[in-house]
């Protein structure tokens, strides 16, 4: 138990930035827009969150700034993919390159600066529960917020009319249009808000996890999130499990090394990716459609209102 508790606590910690990015992307993709710009949006979020926290002294305003930056970044993507009906893959990749470059250019003067950042907030009473307390209830507020977000997204996508409309825009935009919904407006909203959530994942890296800015500090976590969306089969609950699994494997292999166990670390690090490939295989066999959660049928396909299919 002594070894397992810190590993699980670390799994939650290091899974959280990926979780935010995955949740944001699920929201976006459920409306039919795929956004491969996660890495770039996370980096811009990390940079903005850090610089705003530094200048205002408030990590909360920093988070708000990061969210706004994510919305702005994905507005570019939304305009290209929804209004101009451009290629979503190309636009997403461009967004990643743009975000990486812009954040490192602007972040140059912040190298070597630290901020107090978001402090730990152990939840009274709950954090004293043996085992579960230190694993779940001895973290910073952003982690608790991510659980609220998971619950909210599940409820929103399954049980609300707006959620149903959003899924309709992603599964069958023609039918949604016939129902009198504005597919563009729904897709815009999902892309912008989803982008904001992704940026929070980046800001978590620079405000809560590390309290510093470093170039390209997300180190590929945006891409892991892209894979995790598929791993989760577009289900926010499963996304949480997956994010903690990815985070946990990393925490586990580092701790194995620290205690001097000689299991080859690269082997362990491959595990989550192998699982992702497996899940991909399974859902492509089962088609994975027709589920409330599952691949949106019109993912990545621009919707031309005036044309016949």
């Amino acid at each position: 138990m002594e070894i397992i508790i810190p590993i699980l606590a670390a799994a939650v910690r290091s899974g959280t930035p990926i979780l935010y990015a995955t949740l944001g992307e699920i929201l976006t993709e459920k409306s039919g827009i795929s956004n491969l710009g996660l890495e770039g949006i996370m980096l811009v979020g990390a940079f903005t969150g850090f610089s705003v926290s530094l200048s205002t002294g408030s990590p909360l305003i920093g988070l708000a700034g990061a969210f706004a930056a994510g919305v702005l970044m994905s507005a570019i993507h939304a305009f290209i993919c929804i209004t101009l009906k451009g290629n979503q893959v190309v636009s997403g990749l461009a967004l990643t390159m743009f975000g990486t470059g812009a954040s490192s250019l602007l972040g140059r003067s912040y190298i070597g600066v630290t901020i107090p950042g978001l402090a730990k907030l152990p939840i009274p009473v709950l954090s004293d529960i043996p085992y579960f307390g230190p694993i779940l209830f001895n973290h910073d507020p952003l982690i608790y917020a991510s659980w609220v977000l998971v619950g909210f997204l599940c409820w929103f996508l399954v049980s609300t009319r707006t959620g149903l409309n959003l899924r309709a825009a992603g599964d069958n935009p023609r039918a949604a249009d016939a129902m009198g919904l504005s597919v563009s407006r729904i897709r815009y909203a999902a892309t912008l808000i989803g982008g904001g959530i992704v940026a929070l994942g980046g800001a978590y890296m620079s405000i809560a996890y590390n309290k510093m800015w470093a170039e390209a500090m997300t180190a590929g976590r945006g891409w892991i999130a892209v894979a995790l969306v598929i791993f989760a089969i577009w289900n926010p609950g499963r996304a949480m499990l997956g994010a903690y699994l990815f985070g946990g494997v990393e925490a586990f292999q580092l701790r194995l090394q620290a205690t001097g166990t000689s299991i080859p670390a690269p082997l362990l690090m491959m595990l989550p990716y192998i699982t992702t490939i497996l899940v991909l295989f399974i859902i492509s066999v089962k088609k994975g459609r027709g589920l409330i959660f599952g691949a949106p049928a019109s993912l990545g396909i621009p919707f031309f209102r005036e044309e016949r299919d």
């Binding site: 972040g107 630290t114 997300t218 580092l254 205690t259 670390a265």
Partner: protein, 360 residues
Amino acid sequence: MRKKALLLALAAVLVMCGAGFAFDAVPADKLKPGFVYIGPVGDGGWTFMHDKGREEMEKAFPGVKSSFVESVPEGPDSLRVMETFIRNGSKVIFATSFGYMDFVQEAAKKHPDVMFLHCSGYKRADNVGTYFGRMYQARYLSGLVAGKMTKKNVIGYVAAHPIPEVIRMINAFTIGVKKVNPKAEVRVVWLFSWFDPGKEKEATKALIDSGADLIAMHADTGAAPQAAEEAGVYVIGYNNDMSKFAPTKHLTAPIWDWGMFYKHYIGEMTKGTWKAGDIWWGLKEGVVGLAPFGKDVPEDAKKLVETEKARIVSGSWDVFAGPVKDQKGVEKIPQGKTATDAEMLSMNWFVEGVKGDIPK
């Protein structure tokens, strides 16, 4: 007739080069040194320190106008960058990462009139010199401090990639630790990445959870010192003074001063005395050193560092002087021998006292 003259001239040039003659003096304003960097200038580590050296050199030679290109991959792109420098009039190119080696050779063959200097490589030519620093000497000194400061005798070492450079540093550090504290062990965690602050922090926490009460590191950001400070554990940084990330727990850091090299080379080139060769400078020349000590470092540790430094600077002793045993207790460097530069450059075994594996 003309052809013959040309051939003769060419032969003359070849003979001159072959004999290793010094290059002609180039006026300071004509040198236009071009620097090829592997990372961003803002990495706060390796490239950051090279660029500091470049600025130092410019200050020392006011006429010299240098330029740099950052984040150049170790591939054909680097050749393109060098060609661009030369087209813009550069007479000297500094390539600051190991992987540029073959591309430097290629460019040097095409441009025999341009001087090339390659950091950390081993391939040389008439117009290609190599340079590197004996960072292991500073690592050893920092190990002395670590050995003095650990209470639990468990020291954690956050390491980037299992390559000879990193292994050599771990070994030198451990030799320092063991000299003052034979009971201490150094536990290594590999990141398999030069640059991932999230992972660096998690690795630091893992080491602290496993019992380490002092952290040393070989990665490019300040994440490990920051994590150590948060956990209230002493830390030894790397590359540059990382005390900003751990204001109360930073003990010292082995650091680079590349400006020494750049000032030396530009000085020689403007005087016309530069010859292609290999320079591996260390503590003696001041290319490597230690960052200022933290306030908790006791006087006797500081004194010990001074005497050991004097021993290395005088040349009477070096870090990898035998007998040195590996992890299994097998003698790798016998009594009376010191590891050669080639042996150090290909080091792929851990010394006694390191706990951890080198992935094969």
